[in-house]
């Protein structure tokens, strides 16, 4: 069992969980991930390790709620536990050991790029992080990334930092010259756009792919991605690949396999949560909502199939 030590809401749908996982905390490297299985009957969800503290024996997971399974996970409170955490999985990021690198993070991907930025900085690489979100409240890990170097924050609506997309800021940084590599983690359209920005400049670009998977050891083949015309497995050959070679269209397409299931399962879960809250409110004399009870009931009851991919 892996107890939740700390929990924080980072943006409207992104939550940080710090959990006990001493072995993984001790040996994990930037770019690696774990597979989390909350309880019997739950899904196995791949999540990148955003940070680790070997002394406390903890790892940090940053989770975007995109459906029932991730909502169940972020509903866990400090003191509650996750049944299974397997890892560290995947190949570690191949970090530059000198020069200048840009780390591009979009949404929850900003947390994933964080250990890479820190690893690069530790290697003596000059790191510029370009991160973004829809608006100010969606920007995460800005302060943490400052520990690695300069941070350029972008918001789509201009409510904070530089207005516009991360790709625009990235292009300016590359135009200024001297960039040896770009590491990009975020939604598939963002990673694809980053690859297109850097391609004409010939800057080596790496993307961390959030493919669906069950075991994370190469057994299921669900995470197969096409890179340079070859079928590779994100779990053991990746998760990072040469972004200029990745078939992002196929990746985006395969990530949509269970969209209908997810929508249905999430809707059912929400309906049950609402019903449970009503019952709880009735039990409490119509007083007020009891969120803990409601989430517990939801966790116990939620039935239909759901699936989220790694974010």
């Amino acid at each position: 069992m892996h107890t939740v030590i700390d929990k924080a809401q980072l943006s409207p749908n992104v939550t940080r969980l710090v959990i006990e996982a001493p072995r993984i905390a001790e040996i994990r490297k930037p770019g690696q991930f774990v597979i989390v299985h909350r309880a019997p009957g739950a899904e196995r969800i791949p999540l990148t390790i955003a940070d680790a503290d070997p002394d406390r024996g903890t790892i940090t997971l940053v989770i975007q709620s995109v459906g029932k399974s991730t909502e169940d996970l972020v509903a866990l409170q400090p003191g509650e536990a996750i049944a299974d955490v397997a890892g560290p999985l995947g190949k570690a990021t191949e970090l530059l050991d000198h020069g200048r690198a840009v780390c591009v993070g979009g949404g929850v991907g900003t947390a994933v790029v964080h250990p890479i930025a820190l690893g690069l900085a530790a290697n003596g690489v000059e790191v510029i992080s370009v991160i973004g979100g829809r608006s100010k409240e969606w920007v995460i890990f800005e302060d943490e990334l400052r520990r690695a170097g300069e941070v350029i924050t972008c918001t789509d609506d201009g409510s904070y930092g530089r207005p516009g997309f991360v790709t625009d800021a990235l292009r300016d940084v590359i135009e200024a010259g001297g960039v040896d590599a770009v590491y990009a983690v975020g939604p598939v359209p963002m990673m694809r756009a980053v690859a297109e920005v850097t391609r004409p400049y010939g800057v080596p670009t790496f993307a961390s792919l959030n493919a669906m998977m069950l075991d994370g050891t190469g057994m299921c083949g669900g995470c197969r991605v096409t890179v340079g015309g070859k079928t590779l497995y994100a779990c053991v050959d990746g998760p990072e690949f040469d972004a200029h070679q990745v078939d992002f269209r196929e990746l985006a397409d395969r990530l949509g396999t269970y969209r209908d299931f997810e929508a249905h399962a999430t809707e059912v879960a929400h309906r049950r949560r609402a019903a449970a809250q009503e019952t709880a409110a009735d039990d409490a004399g119509g007083n007020c909502l009891i969120p803990d009870l409601a989430t517990t009931a939801e966790r116990k009851d939620a039935a239909a199939a759901a699936g989220e991919h790694r974010e």
Binding site: R23, R44, D84, G87, G218, C220, G222, E250, R254, A265
Partner: protein
């Protein structure tokens, strides 16, 4: 059945042995061999085909006590029991059957468990027809003794009476063994080693132990409760299991060698093989590994599970082994109207267990034989809509001794479907093996061992699919048992082991 001997009355005096008093011999006098020959093989009761094709409950229902006692009478107790030679774990078959037929269930269970760490499993999934039952002298003239069904009966009885078949605890040897992988090879080795007093820890990558027994073989053929009970029995006997531990990631093989006195690698042949045809990455194409893992380990057959699985009205499964048959029967149970096997050779060449093919036919599974896939077809949203195939004719036998399929020009056709499951085999997973450069591998990436199962690394043994390539549960168990004997000899400083009884088990492999 004209001159069949008189069965003993159901009620009456307790059995002569110290066994369960409800078990009386089927006949009130010992039979002569001639009389035994007159008894027909008892048919395994099973769920009706139409009924079971819509549920995940076990197909075979198991012998009743009466059927088991009657079937046990059919054994001729050969002086030279060739059936044992057909068994990769060398179960003393006549011994447990003899004890069963005199009503000594405790003795039968003790005998069986002494030879076989997972009898509830093997009684259900072994290809008995090419092993013990294939050797049975009665098969020469009629039907063999139903050894598998009897094994299952005794094993299930033992499971239901855990206090009655407890093995004596061994004296602690002070030596420790790491077993990597909790599939049939790993569990068998663990059970054998703990019996010899060693401190055994099994490492499993998934969150639950059992390997292919829980992620691969479906509920309707091998209920997961049964596997769990087998695992629980091993744990009760002293085996430790660490789940979520991936060797090559969570721990290295080097660390295990430092921590333990010996290591047994039984990680299986986990990588799925795909067809390498266009359209294979469309939505709706699964490897059998992924499909079965979703349904079995993750419980997607149950609507209460959070793990989704696609459900097609028309499902094509490519392949002819047990994994293919398991997949197609699973698809049927998940509601497919048309569940079809596409296999490039003929019916005689299907590598699947005969009973499974027979059951599949009863359940309405379609077989497109001598057909090979050329391309998966998808719609504009990249969802599978069909599979383009070509018919094959069978030519001269190839290296495997089976007639080689040759495409018939101009015979291409399309099978409409929403899902394709690829079950054409697996290969070795390099996750562990590649992390240790000194571990000798063959060209296909499988671990090379000596005749006693030791790899090129002293004290590191290997067995099961990671040595022999994809094979059966029972062959993996045979490897586990043999490796346990070798590990034990190694730990006592007496390697190589003297007993060569298990050194060369040669039984044809036919998939899980």
């Amino acid at each position: 059945m004209t001159d069949q001997p008189t069965p003993a009355p159901e009620t009456g005096a307790p059995s002569a042995s110290h066994g369960d008093s409800t078990f009386t011999p089927a006949f009130d006098h010992p039979l002569s061999p001639k009389e035994r020959m007159t008894i027909d093989r008892s048919h395994m009761p099973e769920q009706d085909a139409l009924l079971r094709a819509a549920n995940f409950r076990e197909v075979n229902l198991g012998y009743s006590q009466q059927l088991a006692m009657l079937e046990a009478e059919r054994c001729l107790m050969c002086r030279n029991p060739v059936c044992i030679e057909g068994c990769p774990v060398r179960v003393n078959i006549p011994q447990f059957i003899e004890r069963l037929r005199v009503g000594d269930l405790d003795g039968a269970a003790a005998s069986l468990l002494d030879d076989n760490a997972l009898p509830c499993v093997t009684g259900r999934v072994c290809p008995q027809e090419i092993q013990c039952e294939g050797r049975c002298v009665r098969a020469k003239k009629g039907a063999s003794v139903a050894i598998g069904s009897l094994e299952r009966f005794v094993a299930d009885w033992a499971m239901a009476h855990p206090d009655r078949s407890k093995a004596d605890g061994a004296t602690a040897s002070g030596r420790s063994v790491a077993v990597v992988g909790s599939g049939p090879a790993g569990l068998t080795a663990a059970g054998e080693l703990v019996k010899k007093g060693h401190d055994v820890t099994v490492f499993e990558a998934f969150h639950a132990a059992g390997g292919v027994l829980i992620y691969g073989i479906p509920e309707f053929r091998l209920p997961k409760d049964i596997v769990q009970q087998e695992v629980d029995r091993l744990v009760a006997s002293g085996v430790k299991i660490e789940t979520n531990a991936i060797i090559g990631r969570t721990y290295t093989l080097r660390e295990l060698r430092e921590r333990f006195d010996a290591v047994f690698l039984a990680v299986g042949a986990g990588l799925p093989v795909f067809m390498n045809v266009p359209g294979e990455n469309y939505k709706g194409v699964y490897s059998a590994n992924e499909y079965l893992t979703r349904v079995n380990l993750m419980g997607a057959w149950n609507p209460e599970s959070d793990t989704p699985v696609l459900k097609g009205h028309r499902v094509v499964v490519v392949g002819g082994g047990n994994v293919a048959i398991d997949s197609v029967r699973t698809a049927k149970r998940l509601g497919a109207d048309e569940a079809t096997i596409v296999y490039r050779r003929g019916k005689a060449e299907l590598p699947a267990r005969a009973e499974e093919v027979h059951h599949a036919e009863q359940e309405g599974i379609r077989f497109e034989l001598q057909v090979a896939p050329l391309e998966v077809i998808g719609d504009e949203n990249r969802w599978v809509t069909g599979i383009r195939c070509i018919r094959m004719e069978l030519g001269e036998p190839d290296a495997s001794g089976r007639r080689r399929p040759i495409p018939i020009e101009g015979s291409e056709f399309i099978i409409d479907c929403e899902m394709v499951v690829v079950a054409i085999g697996t290969r070795s997973n390099p996750l562990l093996t590649a992390s240790e450069p000194d571990l000798a591998l063959n060209q296909a990436g499988y671990i090379v061992t000596d005749e006693h199962g030791m790899s090129s690394l002293p004290g590191v043994f290997a067995g099961g699919d990671i040595v022999r390539g994809a094979a059966t549960v029972i062959l993996a168990m045979g490897d586990g048992k043999r490796a346990a004997a070798s590990v034990d000899a190694w730990l006592r400083g007496e390697y190589p082991p003297a007993d060569k009884a298990l050194a060369s088990v040669s039984v044809a492999a036919t998939g899980t």
